[in-house]
Amino acid sequence: MIEANLLGLLNIDSFRHDLIQNIGVAIMSLSVIFVILGLTYFKKWRWLFKEWLSSLDHKKIGIMYIVVAVLMLSKAGFDALIMRTQQALSVGNHHGIVSSSHYQQIFSSHGTTMIFFAAMGLMFGIINLAVPLMIGTRDVAFPWLNSVSFWLFAAGMILLNTSLAIGDFSGAGWLAYPPLSELQYSPTVGVDYWIWSLQIAGVGSLLSGINFIVTILTKRAKGMNLMKMPMFVWSILGSMTLVTFAFPVLTATLALLALDRLIGTHFFTSGGGGNPMMYVNLIWAWGHPEVYILILPAFGIFSEIVATFSRKKLFGYKSMVWAIWAIVILSFTVWLHHFFTMGAGADVNGFFGIMTMIIAIPTGVKIFNWLFTMFRGRITFSAPMIWFIGFILLFSIGGVAGVILAVPPADFQLHNSLFLVAHFHTMIVSGVLFGYFAGIVYWFPKFFGIRLNEKLGKIAAYLWILGFIVAFVPLYALGIMGATRRMDHYSASMGWQPLFIVAGVGVLIIGSGLLAIVAQVAYSIYKHLDYRDKTGDPWDGRTLEWSIPSPAPSYNFSVLPTIKKPDDFWDLKQTNRKVELNYSDISMPKNSYLGLFISAGAFSFGFGVVWHIFWLSIIGLILIFSSIIIRTLDENTEYIITKESLIRDDMKFYGEAK
């Protein structure tokens, strides 16, 4: 399939789109131009590259993850808005605002973007910010690898968004089931964009997984044995273990699908001895653990928040740890519940149905632990707590819907209906997303040195909770009434339109919730003098990150802490225990631009493969390999911060505080 043409499959038609998509392209290009002009006008290019893009500081990398993720969340949110508008309008003789084929691309890109670039981005952002501080270390185990992970994530994100302007995107759903995703039925480059943006970002996630396991296992503060770790760190250890076991399956599966499309193998084709159901099995062997990869960190965040805002130590610490590991193991034994209708037979379906119900038990343990932590606590209803209350209400409802779906006979009826869509949105929006929002509000002062406005934060949380209920409860009803997912048009006689309109209103409320979050951040930055966190411990926290100044200095801890008890910092404050401060010189990793080069290489490689421009792919690979080799040869990767400057920094912050 080697093309003679230098530009591969690329031609002028690749840039022609319908009106809605052209508006999208215009918005995207204008924002990019706007940012470039802004950077030039304020002469910030140097600052951007020197302070941020080349940084190996885990906190800066974390913030970059979150910035990218929030952009992707908004972009995929627009997709959701188009979908809801389409379904509210496209009845009978009206055919809505987008064509069927474009609608398919929109729901595929909505799911792909939300999971891989919004949720995963927020997750890795928060992990990067919080984990090293909570375990009392100055950096992750492999700082350079951390920057490479971020830049692969960014390259995948850029490749995905390129599909909006050049060519088209996959219309085969967020998991691109074959045979639909095979070349025979999806002859355009859309599925290739899907494959390669996920493949590149997925390798980045895999490297991050390795990095954080090693960080947690080898870089904890002196005295912090595993059972003294904060629950958030435990949940990350569980989640990253899942990453290292599940993401290689994704890598292999995507590679096989890519080979089917590129060189004509027969892995998942319907003819030629291929087996499409094998793809579905493989992708869910990754996909089910993936939902736990996302939810475990959110559980960890809530564990910290509930303990902090209830002024009590977390109830049932040990049972929490066991629940995490039970979830880690069980999550590999339930993948078949995503396709009970495959026809595996009653015994197989029965097994997976029962395993699915069993996995609800450790989750229930966690919910009761949080409730018991709140019981007789002195609860402060700050914004993170509002998110938590919304989570526990909605997540329990979604969980019960999940147990209904776990019953194979019921699933045969509800499979592929909007009931399912409502179920997994309840889990992922009110579980994952609420958790991450709560985490960002909670840790914001630590990284930016300012607290967020409480009132706007609470308004945002209430709007999200309300909007979520209005948007998704109708979908449960519609699903039971027989409305299938991924539907761009339906007959007026079905009587579904009123409920779809209600759901559309719900999305608007959620959108205003998102705006409220933006307003909250913008207002707090505008009033930053009033909102400054002068103590470093704005919530009267329990874990190590609150023991250092806000914003956290680049080296995190001027003196590495020694731990005696769980929630050591809280204990320190309660007992007025004195800590000896033995300052000494420290070495920190220098910035590196190689992550950017690897990112450029990965993007060129991906773009080249998508469009069959193979010389570009080869250049990309050379760029990647030479960057790795250059890094291996580089001996001078660290710089020294002297004892005196550490003492000076501490005096400056704490002197000011007192």
Binding site: I210, P248, V249, T265, M278
Partner: protein, 195 residues
């Protein structure tokens, strides 16, 4: 003393990371083996494993790869004795054996394509080519790694960093050996017996 401890901690962290990387690569191969197990009888009316594979060739490849593991192990022993020239000699021996192995594999692939049994023909052949080819791709990466490593040792001598690289390369190379043992058993041996 303190410096030594710091180096030890640094090394243990890198090795742990590398072991976990190998674990993830194991999962990649496990997926490919699962795919092979699912598809190996889907010959689409074409050739089956029993008709295609020659045991003498597979056995030769196995012996060559096992010998290369021995030579790369000898490089480690030379490293313990701080003998730079011997390290380079055994690494070169490993490189040559690896290259011969790769050559035999490519020759077999070419032969299969020439007689009309390429990966396009059936699910079985697709999974065969990709499983064995992925192993071959790892061998290529190992060969490149050996070149870079030798250059580092020649230019910079036996530094802590280059020795760490040598140990990790050995882990990687032995891992490829183990994967090959599974390929030999599952693909060639079981294929030969028509299982």
């Amino acid at each position: 003393m303190d410096n030594n401890l710091a180096i030890k901690a640094e090394n243990s962290k890198t090795y742990l990371g590398f072991w976990i990387y190998i674990l993830t690569d194991c999962v990649v191969f496990a997926s490919l083996f699962a795919v092979y197990a699912t598809l190996h009888s889907n010959t689409n009316g074409g050739a089956s494993a029993q008709m295609l594979f020659s045991m003498p060739l597979a056995l030769t490849q196995t012996l060559i790869l096992l010998s290369s593991s021995l030579t790369s192990g000898l490089a480690i022993i030379s490293a313990l004795n701080k003998n730079k020239n011997k390290i380079l000699f055994w690494t070169l021996a490993t490189f040559i054996l690896g290259t011969i192995f790769l050559f035999l594999e490519i020759r077999e692939f070419n032969h299969l394509v020439a007689i009309g049994d390429s990966w396009r023909e059936s699910g079985f052949l697709s999974s065969y080519f990709v499983l064995v080819g992925t192993h071959g791709l790892h061998i290529i990466i190992g060969l490149i790694w050996m070149i870079v490593l030798s250059f580092i040792i020649i230019i910079k001598g036996l530094t802590i960093k280059s020795m760490k690289g040598l140990v990790m390369f050995n882990l990687f190379w032995h891992f490829l050996d183990i994967v090959w043992i599974f390929i030999f058993s599952v693909v060639y041996l079981m294929g030969h017996m028509g299982l």
